[in-house]
Protein backbone atom coordinates (compact mmCIF):
# COMPACT_ATOMS: atom_id res chain seq x y z
CA UNK A 1 0.00 0.00 0.00
CA UNK A 2 1.43 3.43 -0.84
CA UNK A 3 0.53 6.95 0.22
CA UNK A 4 -1.30 9.11 -2.34
CA UNK A 5 -2.56 12.30 -0.75
CA UNK A 6 -3.67 14.12 2.34
CA UNK A 7 -7.40 14.83 2.14
CA UNK A 8 -8.01 16.77 5.37
CA UNK A 9 -5.66 18.24 7.96
CA UNK A 10 -6.45 18.73 11.66
CA UNK A 11 -7.98 22.20 11.15
CA UNK A 12 -10.18 21.02 8.29
CA UNK A 13 -11.35 18.04 10.36
CA UNK A 14 -12.18 20.35 13.26
CA UNK A 15 -14.12 22.67 10.94
CA UNK A 16 -16.03 19.69 9.52
CA UNK A 17 -17.00 18.59 13.04
CA UNK A 18 -18.15 22.13 13.91
CA UNK A 19 -20.29 22.22 10.76
CA UNK A 20 -21.78 18.78 11.55
CA UNK A 21 -22.57 19.95 15.11
CA UNK A 22 -24.44 22.97 13.69
CA UNK A 23 -26.29 20.77 11.18
CA UNK A 24 -27.34 18.31 13.90
CA UNK A 25 -28.62 21.11 16.15
CA UNK A 26 -30.47 22.77 13.27
CA UNK A 27 -32.12 19.59 12.07
CA UNK A 28 -33.08 18.42 15.57
CA UNK A 29 -34.07 21.92 16.74
CA UNK A 30 -31.54 21.86 19.57
CA UNK A 31 -29.97 19.11 21.67
CA UNK A 32 -32.98 17.94 23.69
CA UNK A 33 -33.34 14.13 23.68
CA UNK A 34 -30.19 13.84 21.55
CA UNK A 35 -27.55 11.13 22.19
CA UNK A 36 -24.36 10.29 20.28
CA UNK A 37 -23.24 6.70 19.74
CA UNK A 38 -19.77 6.02 18.32
CA UNK A 39 -19.02 2.80 16.47
CA UNK A 40 -15.79 1.12 17.63
CA UNK A 41 -13.02 2.19 17.11
CA UNK A 42 -12.80 5.67 15.62
CA UNK A 43 -16.47 6.53 15.90
CA UNK A 44 -16.02 6.79 19.67
CA UNK A 45 -13.59 9.76 19.80
CA UNK A 46 -15.62 11.39 17.02
CA UNK A 47 -18.77 11.09 19.16
CA UNK A 48 -16.90 12.59 22.12
CA UNK A 49 -15.57 15.49 20.01
CA UNK A 50 -19.06 16.16 18.71
CA UNK A 51 -20.56 16.07 22.22
CA UNK A 52 -18.00 18.66 23.30
CA UNK A 53 -18.83 20.88 20.31
CA UNK A 54 -22.57 20.63 21.05
CA UNK A 55 -21.89 21.54 24.70
CA UNK A 56 -19.95 24.63 23.55
CA UNK A 57 -22.69 25.70 21.14
CA UNK A 58 -25.80 24.77 23.08
CA UNK A 59 -24.71 24.48 26.72
CA UNK A 60 -26.12 20.95 26.94
CA UNK A 61 -23.98 17.85 27.60
CA UNK A 62 -25.54 15.15 25.43
CA UNK A 63 -24.89 11.53 26.50
CA UNK A 64 -22.46 9.43 24.46
CA UNK A 65 -22.18 5.66 24.07
CA UNK A 66 -19.91 3.04 22.51
CA UNK A 67 -21.21 0.42 20.10
CA UNK A 68 -19.39 -2.72 18.98
CA UNK A 69 -20.91 -4.32 15.89
CA UNK A 70 -18.72 -7.46 15.65
CA UNK A 71 -21.44 -9.89 16.74
CA UNK A 72 -23.78 -8.39 14.09
CA UNK A 73 -21.47 -8.63 11.06
CA UNK A 74 -23.20 -10.43 8.19
CA UNK A 75 -19.95 -12.21 7.20
CA UNK A 76 -19.01 -13.51 10.65
CA UNK A 77 -19.54 -17.20 9.83
CA UNK A 78 -17.60 -16.82 6.54
CA UNK A 79 -14.47 -15.01 7.63
CA UNK A 80 -11.10 -16.62 8.24
CA UNK A 81 -9.74 -14.28 10.90
CA UNK A 82 -11.43 -13.71 14.22
CA UNK A 83 -12.23 -10.03 14.76
CA UNK A 84 -11.44 -8.36 18.07
CA UNK A 85 -14.63 -8.02 20.05
CA UNK A 86 -15.19 -5.07 22.38
CA UNK A 87 -17.73 -3.97 24.93
CA UNK A 88 -20.84 -2.06 23.98
CA UNK A 89 -21.39 0.64 26.60
CA UNK A 90 -24.61 2.60 26.35
CA UNK A 91 -25.60 3.85 29.78
CA UNK A 92 -28.81 5.68 28.90
CA UNK A 93 -32.27 4.61 27.86
CA UNK A 94 -32.10 4.71 24.07
CA UNK A 95 -35.91 4.47 23.86
CA UNK A 96 -36.17 8.12 24.86
CA UNK A 97 -33.44 9.41 22.53
CA UNK A 98 -32.80 10.64 19.04
CA UNK A 99 -29.55 8.81 18.28
CA UNK A 100 -26.78 10.09 16.04
CA UNK A 101 -24.47 7.23 15.04
CA UNK A 102 -20.85 8.20 14.40
CA UNK A 103 -18.28 6.43 12.24
CA UNK A 104 -15.06 7.48 10.53
CA UNK A 105 -15.63 6.20 6.97
CA UNK A 106 -18.85 5.23 5.16
CA UNK A 107 -18.06 2.66 2.47
CA UNK A 108 -20.25 -0.38 1.62
CA UNK A 109 -22.83 0.42 4.32
CA UNK A 110 -22.53 -3.04 5.92
CA UNK A 111 -21.07 -1.72 9.18
CA UNK A 112 -23.98 0.70 9.48
CA UNK A 113 -26.51 -2.05 8.76
CA UNK A 114 -24.93 -4.09 11.57
CA UNK A 115 -24.96 -1.02 13.83
CA UNK A 116 -28.69 -0.47 13.17
CA UNK A 117 -29.38 -4.10 14.15
CA UNK A 118 -27.21 -3.83 17.27
CA UNK A 119 -28.81 -0.55 18.30
CA UNK A 120 -32.41 -1.69 17.84
CA UNK A 121 -31.68 -4.80 19.96
CA UNK A 122 -30.96 -2.39 22.81
CA UNK A 123 -34.28 -0.59 22.48
CA UNK A 124 -36.33 1.50 20.08
CA UNK A 125 -34.83 4.97 19.63
CA UNK A 126 -37.09 7.85 18.54
CA UNK A 127 -34.90 8.12 15.44
CA UNK A 128 -31.43 7.16 14.22
CA UNK A 129 -29.28 9.51 12.15
CA UNK A 130 -25.82 8.90 10.74
CA UNK A 131 -22.76 11.15 10.77
CA UNK A 132 -19.41 10.21 9.18
CA UNK A 133 -16.12 11.99 8.68
CA UNK A 134 -15.69 10.66 5.10
CA UNK A 135 -18.19 9.19 2.63
CA UNK A 136 -16.11 7.35 0.03
CA UNK A 137 -18.97 5.80 -1.99
CA UNK A 138 -19.31 2.15 -3.23
CA UNK A 139 -22.47 1.39 -1.25
CA UNK A 140 -23.75 -2.20 -1.31
CA UNK A 141 -26.86 -1.39 0.73
CA UNK A 142 -29.43 1.42 0.56
CA UNK A 143 -27.84 3.47 3.34
CA UNK A 144 -26.82 7.14 3.28
CA UNK A 145 -25.34 9.51 5.83
CA UNK A 146 -27.26 12.49 7.21
CA UNK A 147 -24.08 14.42 8.06
CA UNK A 148 -20.80 14.11 6.12
CA UNK A 149 -17.45 15.74 6.90
CA UNK A 150 -16.09 15.17 3.38
CA UNK A 151 -17.55 13.46 0.31
CA UNK A 152 -14.63 11.72 -1.38
CA UNK A 153 -15.16 9.79 -4.63
CA UNK A 154 -12.67 6.90 -4.57
CA UNK A 155 -11.74 3.84 -6.60
CA UNK A 156 -12.06 0.42 -4.93
CA UNK A 157 -8.29 0.01 -4.90
CA UNK A 158 -7.92 3.09 -2.75
CA UNK A 159 -7.94 3.12 1.05
CA UNK A 160 -9.17 6.04 3.14
CA UNK A 161 -7.49 6.40 6.52
CA UNK A 162 -9.07 8.65 9.12
CA UNK A 163 -6.48 9.14 11.84
CA UNK A 164 -7.48 10.66 15.17
CA UNK A 165 -5.30 12.03 17.95
CA UNK A 166 -7.00 9.71 20.48
CA UNK A 167 -6.33 6.50 18.52
CA UNK A 168 -3.49 7.33 16.13
CA UNK A 169 -1.64 10.29 17.65
CA UNK A 170 -2.67 12.83 14.97
CA UNK A 171 -5.78 14.23 13.30
CA UNK A 172 -5.55 13.71 9.53
CA UNK A 173 -7.45 12.06 6.65
CA UNK A 174 -5.24 10.33 4.07
CA UNK A 175 -5.74 8.50 0.78
CA UNK A 176 -3.66 5.38 0.11
CA UNK A 177 -3.48 3.00 -2.85
CA UNK A 178 -3.40 -0.78 -2.54
CA UNK A 179 -0.36 -2.34 -4.29
Amino acid sequence: MHYKAQILDAHEMKRAMTRIAHEILERNKGATDLALVGIHTRGIPLAEQLAQKIAELEGIQVPTGKLDITLYRDDLSEISRQPIIRRTEINFDIGTKKIVLLDDVLFTGRTIRAALDALTDLGRPKSIQLAVMVDRGHRELPIRADYVGKNLPTSKTEVVKVKLAETDGEDVVELWELE
Binding site: Y72, D74, L76, E78, Q82, I85, D121, L122
Partner: protein, 307 residues
Amino acid sequence: MGTGVKHLLDFQGWTVEGIQGILETADVMKEVLERPVKKVPALQGITVCTAFFENSTRTRTSFELAARRMSADVLTFAAGASSLSKGESLRDTIETLNAYKVDAFIVRHHASGAAHQVAKFSGKSTINAGDGRRAHPTQALLDAYTMLKEFGKLEGLKVTIVGDILHSRVARSNAELLDLLGADVTLCGPATLLPKELQKGRVKLTNDMQAAVKDADVVMALRLQQERMNGGFLPSMSEYALTYQVNERLLELAKDHAIVLHPGPMNRDLEISGSLADSERSRIIAQVEYGQAIRMSVLYHLLVGKK
Protein backbone atom coordinates in the same frame (compact mmCIF):
# COMPACT_ATOMS: atom_id res chain seq x y z
CA MET B 1 -7.32 -12.33 19.69
CA GLY B 2 -8.04 -15.87 18.61
CA THR B 3 -7.29 -19.03 20.46
CA GLY B 4 -5.65 -20.76 17.52
CA VAL B 5 -7.21 -24.05 18.61
CA LYS B 6 -10.14 -25.92 17.15
CA HIS B 7 -11.29 -27.88 20.19
CA LEU B 8 -11.78 -27.40 23.91
CA LEU B 9 -11.14 -30.89 25.25
CA ASP B 10 -8.96 -29.86 28.20
CA PHE B 11 -6.38 -27.11 28.55
CA GLN B 12 -3.53 -28.91 26.82
CA GLY B 13 -2.37 -26.84 23.88
CA TRP B 14 -4.04 -23.71 25.24
CA THR B 15 -1.99 -20.63 26.05
CA VAL B 16 -2.61 -18.21 28.91
CA GLU B 17 -3.39 -15.55 26.26
CA GLY B 18 -5.96 -17.83 24.61
CA ILE B 19 -7.68 -18.45 27.95
CA GLN B 20 -7.59 -14.75 28.82
CA GLY B 21 -9.25 -14.08 25.46
CA ILE B 22 -12.12 -16.39 26.46
CA LEU B 23 -12.47 -14.69 29.86
CA GLU B 24 -12.40 -11.20 28.28
CA THR B 25 -15.00 -12.08 25.63
CA ALA B 26 -17.21 -13.47 28.43
CA ASP B 27 -17.49 -9.86 29.68
CA VAL B 28 -18.99 -8.88 26.30
CA MET B 29 -21.37 -11.86 26.41
CA LYS B 30 -22.39 -10.98 29.97
CA GLU B 31 -23.38 -7.54 28.68
CA VAL B 32 -25.42 -9.19 25.88
CA LEU B 33 -27.26 -11.23 28.54
CA GLU B 34 -28.24 -8.01 30.34
CA ARG B 35 -29.92 -6.53 27.23
CA PRO B 36 -33.67 -6.54 26.53
CA VAL B 37 -32.95 -8.76 23.48
CA LYS B 38 -30.53 -11.40 24.79
CA LYS B 39 -29.55 -12.65 21.37
CA VAL B 40 -26.96 -11.77 18.72
CA PRO B 41 -26.66 -13.12 15.17
CA ALA B 42 -22.96 -14.11 15.48
CA LEU B 43 -23.42 -17.85 14.78
CA GLN B 44 -26.22 -17.59 12.23
CA GLY B 45 -26.02 -20.53 9.81
CA ILE B 46 -23.97 -22.68 12.19
CA THR B 47 -25.34 -25.93 13.62
CA VAL B 48 -24.19 -27.11 17.02
CA CYS B 49 -24.94 -30.62 18.28
CA THR B 50 -25.17 -31.31 22.00
CA ALA B 51 -24.34 -35.01 22.24
CA PHE B 52 -24.99 -36.00 25.85
CA PHE B 53 -24.32 -39.65 26.60
CA GLU B 54 -24.66 -38.96 30.33
CA ASN B 55 -27.43 -37.10 32.16
CA SER B 56 -27.00 -33.43 32.83
CA THR B 57 -29.32 -30.51 33.48
CA ARG B 58 -27.29 -27.37 33.89
CA THR B 59 -24.44 -28.03 31.47
CA ARG B 60 -26.69 -29.11 28.61
CA THR B 61 -29.27 -26.35 29.07
CA SER B 62 -26.52 -23.78 29.55
CA PHE B 63 -24.76 -24.83 26.31
CA GLU B 64 -28.01 -25.00 24.34
CA LEU B 65 -29.16 -21.59 25.49
CA ALA B 66 -25.68 -20.16 24.86
CA ALA B 67 -25.73 -21.52 21.29
CA ARG B 68 -29.26 -20.23 20.67
CA ARG B 69 -28.39 -16.82 22.08
CA MET B 70 -25.66 -16.67 19.44
CA SER B 71 -28.31 -17.64 16.81
CA ALA B 72 -26.88 -21.11 16.09
CA ASP B 73 -29.18 -24.01 15.25
CA VAL B 74 -29.06 -26.69 17.95
CA LEU B 75 -29.37 -30.42 17.37
CA THR B 76 -30.04 -32.12 20.69
CA PHE B 77 -29.00 -35.71 21.18
CA ALA B 78 -29.89 -37.43 24.44
CA ALA B 79 -28.57 -40.95 24.92
CA GLY B 80 -31.61 -42.14 26.88
CA ALA B 81 -33.90 -41.85 23.87
CA SER B 82 -31.41 -43.05 21.27
CA SER B 83 -30.28 -46.16 19.40
CA LEU B 84 -27.44 -46.57 21.90
CA SER B 85 -29.79 -48.89 23.77
CA LYS B 86 -29.86 -51.01 20.60
CA GLY B 87 -26.10 -51.39 20.73
CA GLU B 88 -24.94 -48.59 18.45
CA SER B 89 -21.31 -47.53 19.04
CA LEU B 90 -20.14 -44.00 19.90
CA ARG B 91 -18.45 -43.78 16.52
CA ASP B 92 -21.57 -44.75 14.55
CA THR B 93 -23.73 -42.36 16.59
CA ILE B 94 -21.36 -39.44 15.97
CA GLU B 95 -20.99 -40.25 12.28
CA THR B 96 -24.77 -40.32 11.93
CA LEU B 97 -25.17 -36.95 13.66
CA ASN B 98 -22.27 -35.57 11.60
CA ALA B 99 -24.12 -36.50 8.41
CA TYR B 100 -26.68 -33.82 9.35
CA LYS B 101 -23.99 -31.21 8.54
CA VAL B 102 -23.16 -30.32 12.09
CA ASP B 103 -20.44 -27.66 12.57
CA ALA B 104 -19.57 -28.42 16.18
CA PHE B 105 -20.09 -31.07 18.83
CA ILE B 106 -20.58 -30.52 22.53
CA VAL B 107 -20.01 -33.87 24.20
CA ARG B 108 -20.64 -35.35 27.60
CA HIS B 109 -19.73 -38.97 28.18
CA HIS B 110 -19.13 -41.24 31.17
CA ALA B 111 -15.87 -42.50 29.64
CA SER B 112 -12.66 -40.50 29.97
CA GLY B 113 -11.31 -39.61 26.53
CA ALA B 114 -14.67 -39.84 24.73
CA ALA B 115 -14.55 -36.16 23.69
CA HIS B 116 -11.16 -36.77 22.00
CA GLN B 117 -12.73 -39.66 20.10
CA VAL B 118 -15.64 -37.49 18.96
CA ALA B 119 -13.19 -34.83 17.72
CA LYS B 120 -11.37 -37.56 15.78
CA PHE B 121 -14.48 -39.27 14.35
CA SER B 122 -16.27 -36.07 13.36
CA GLY B 123 -13.39 -33.81 12.32
CA LYS B 124 -15.47 -30.95 13.68
CA SER B 125 -14.85 -28.46 16.47
CA THR B 126 -15.51 -30.34 19.70
CA ILE B 127 -16.16 -29.03 23.19
CA ASN B 128 -15.82 -31.38 26.12
CA ALA B 129 -18.82 -30.93 28.40
CA GLY B 130 -17.43 -33.53 30.83
CA ASP B 131 -15.80 -36.87 30.08
CA GLY B 132 -15.49 -39.50 32.81
CA ARG B 133 -13.18 -38.29 35.54
CA ARG B 134 -10.86 -36.52 33.10
CA ALA B 135 -11.97 -32.98 32.26
CA HIS B 136 -14.78 -30.44 32.37
CA PRO B 137 -13.08 -27.35 30.95
CA THR B 138 -16.07 -24.97 30.66
CA GLN B 139 -16.89 -25.59 34.34
CA ALA B 140 -13.31 -24.65 35.24
CA LEU B 141 -13.53 -21.55 33.02
CA LEU B 142 -16.76 -20.40 34.64
CA ASP B 143 -15.28 -21.04 38.10
CA ALA B 144 -12.19 -19.00 37.19
CA TYR B 145 -14.42 -16.27 35.75
CA THR B 146 -16.49 -16.17 38.98
CA MET B 147 -13.26 -15.72 40.98
CA LEU B 148 -12.04 -13.06 38.54
CA LYS B 149 -15.28 -11.08 38.87
CA GLU B 150 -15.00 -11.30 42.66
CA PHE B 151 -11.32 -10.49 43.17
CA GLY B 152 -10.24 -8.83 39.89
CA LYS B 153 -7.32 -11.24 39.48
CA LEU B 154 -6.44 -14.91 39.86
CA GLU B 155 -2.73 -14.64 40.46
CA GLY B 156 -1.86 -15.54 44.05
CA LEU B 157 -5.45 -16.41 44.97
CA LYS B 158 -5.68 -19.30 47.42
CA VAL B 159 -8.31 -21.73 46.16
CA THR B 160 -9.28 -24.81 48.15
CA ILE B 161 -11.28 -27.57 46.49
CA VAL B 162 -12.84 -30.09 48.86
CA GLY B 163 -14.34 -33.50 48.28
CA ASP B 164 -14.03 -36.57 46.10
CA ILE B 165 -11.03 -35.36 44.11
CA LEU B 166 -10.30 -38.81 42.66
CA HIS B 167 -13.53 -39.05 40.68
CA SER B 168 -13.89 -35.34 39.93
CA ARG B 169 -13.30 -33.98 36.44
CA VAL B 170 -14.21 -30.54 37.87
CA ALA B 171 -11.30 -30.73 40.35
CA ARG B 172 -8.91 -31.89 37.60
CA SER B 173 -9.86 -29.14 35.17
CA ASN B 174 -9.85 -26.49 37.90
CA ALA B 175 -6.43 -27.57 39.14
CA GLU B 176 -5.06 -27.49 35.57
CA LEU B 177 -6.57 -24.11 34.69
CA LEU B 178 -6.06 -22.26 37.97
CA ASP B 179 -2.43 -23.39 38.16
CA LEU B 180 -1.92 -22.11 34.60
CA LEU B 181 -3.44 -18.74 35.57
CA GLY B 182 -1.30 -18.35 38.71
CA ALA B 183 -3.64 -19.32 41.56
CA ASP B 184 -2.51 -21.53 44.46
CA VAL B 185 -4.72 -24.59 44.50
CA THR B 186 -5.17 -26.96 47.43
CA LEU B 187 -7.10 -30.17 46.84
CA CYS B 188 -8.52 -31.60 50.03
CA GLY B 189 -10.36 -34.84 50.73
CA PRO B 190 -10.10 -38.25 52.38
CA ALA B 191 -6.77 -39.96 51.63
CA THR B 192 -8.57 -42.65 49.61
CA LEU B 193 -9.89 -39.96 47.26
CA LEU B 194 -6.68 -37.95 46.66
CA PRO B 195 -4.79 -38.99 43.50
CA LYS B 196 -1.05 -38.30 43.91
CA GLU B 197 -0.52 -37.44 40.24
CA LEU B 198 -2.41 -34.16 40.66
CA GLN B 199 0.31 -32.77 42.95
CA LYS B 200 2.29 -30.63 40.50
CA GLY B 201 2.98 -26.96 39.87
CA ARG B 202 1.31 -24.93 42.61
CA VAL B 203 -1.25 -27.67 43.29
CA LYS B 204 -1.07 -29.18 46.80
CA LEU B 205 -2.89 -32.21 48.22
CA THR B 206 -3.98 -32.62 51.81
CA ASN B 207 -6.55 -34.40 53.94
CA ASP B 208 -6.28 -31.80 56.71
CA MET B 209 -9.42 -29.74 56.22
CA GLN B 210 -8.52 -27.00 58.74
CA ALA B 211 -5.10 -26.40 57.16
CA ALA B 212 -6.59 -26.44 53.66
CA VAL B 213 -9.24 -23.83 54.39
CA LYS B 214 -7.03 -21.55 56.54
CA ASP B 215 -6.60 -18.18 54.78
CA ALA B 216 -8.36 -19.41 51.63
CA ASP B 217 -9.91 -16.82 49.29
CA VAL B 218 -12.15 -19.39 47.63
CA VAL B 219 -13.53 -22.67 48.98
CA MET B 220 -15.18 -24.99 46.50
CA ALA B 221 -17.18 -27.99 47.66
CA LEU B 222 -17.56 -30.88 45.22
CA ARG B 223 -20.61 -33.07 44.96
CA LEU B 224 -20.13 -36.30 46.89
CA GLN B 225 -20.93 -38.88 44.27
CA GLN B 226 -23.11 -41.19 46.30
CA GLU B 227 -22.71 -43.91 43.68
CA ARG B 228 -19.03 -44.08 44.79
CA MET B 229 -20.01 -45.05 48.32
CA ASN B 230 -20.09 -48.72 47.36
CA GLY B 231 -16.43 -48.73 46.29
CA GLY B 232 -15.05 -48.74 49.82
CA PHE B 233 -13.66 -45.22 49.45
CA LEU B 234 -15.57 -43.87 52.44
CA PRO B 235 -16.75 -45.48 55.67
CA SER B 236 -20.06 -43.60 55.76
CA MET B 237 -21.69 -40.44 54.48
CA SER B 238 -22.26 -39.08 57.97
CA GLU B 239 -18.58 -39.49 58.81
CA TYR B 240 -17.68 -37.73 55.56
CA ALA B 241 -19.99 -34.83 56.43
CA LEU B 242 -18.50 -34.59 59.91
CA THR B 243 -14.96 -34.17 58.58
CA TYR B 244 -15.25 -32.68 55.09
CA GLN B 245 -18.46 -30.67 54.98
CA VAL B 246 -17.93 -27.05 53.95
CA ASN B 247 -19.89 -25.04 56.53
CA GLU B 248 -19.93 -21.68 58.37
CA ARG B 249 -17.76 -22.94 61.22
CA LEU B 250 -15.06 -24.04 58.81
CA LEU B 251 -15.28 -20.82 56.79
CA GLU B 252 -14.21 -18.87 59.88
CA LEU B 253 -10.69 -20.13 59.15
CA ALA B 254 -10.75 -18.65 55.65
CA LYS B 255 -10.16 -15.00 54.82
CA ASP B 256 -12.94 -12.58 55.77
CA HIS B 257 -13.79 -11.99 52.10
CA ALA B 258 -13.74 -15.70 51.20
CA ILE B 259 -16.43 -16.97 48.83
CA VAL B 260 -17.94 -20.42 48.44
CA LEU B 261 -18.47 -22.23 45.15
CA HIS B 262 -20.12 -25.51 44.16
CA PRO B 263 -20.35 -26.91 40.63
CA GLY B 264 -23.74 -28.50 41.33
CA PRO B 265 -25.88 -30.43 41.70
CA MET B 266 -25.64 -30.03 45.48
CA ASN B 267 -26.27 -32.55 48.23
CA ARG B 268 -27.37 -30.02 50.82
CA ASP B 269 -26.04 -30.67 54.33
CA LEU B 270 -23.74 -33.38 53.05
CA GLU B 271 -20.73 -31.82 51.27
CA ILE B 272 -21.98 -28.27 51.94
CA SER B 273 -24.27 -26.92 54.63
CA GLY B 274 -27.54 -25.70 53.17
CA SER B 275 -27.39 -22.43 55.11
CA LEU B 276 -23.90 -21.65 53.71
CA ALA B 277 -25.08 -22.43 50.18
CA ASP B 278 -27.80 -19.79 50.65
CA SER B 279 -25.58 -17.29 52.49
CA GLU B 280 -24.07 -14.07 51.18
CA ARG B 281 -20.73 -15.85 50.85
CA SER B 282 -22.17 -18.21 48.27
CA ARG B 283 -21.57 -17.51 44.56
CA ILE B 284 -23.31 -20.70 43.41
CA ILE B 285 -26.01 -18.86 41.44
CA ALA B 286 -23.40 -16.49 39.97
CA GLN B 287 -21.53 -19.58 38.70
CA VAL B 288 -24.62 -20.72 36.83
CA GLU B 289 -25.20 -17.23 35.41
CA TYR B 290 -21.57 -16.74 34.35
CA GLY B 291 -21.56 -20.23 32.85
CA GLN B 292 -23.73 -19.07 30.03
CA ALA B 293 -21.51 -16.07 29.20
CA ILE B 294 -18.44 -18.35 29.29
CA ARG B 295 -20.07 -20.89 26.95
CA MET B 296 -21.11 -18.14 24.51
CA SER B 297 -17.51 -16.93 24.58
CA VAL B 298 -16.12 -20.44 23.98
CA LEU B 299 -18.48 -20.94 21.02
CA TYR B 300 -17.39 -17.57 19.59
CA HIS B 301 -13.69 -18.39 19.95
CA LEU B 302 -13.96 -21.88 18.50
CA LEU B 303 -16.38 -21.20 15.67
CA VAL B 304 -15.82 -17.66 14.40
CA GLY B 305 -12.96 -16.88 12.05
CA LYS B 306 -11.89 -20.49 11.52
CA LYS B 307 -12.96 -21.05 7.89
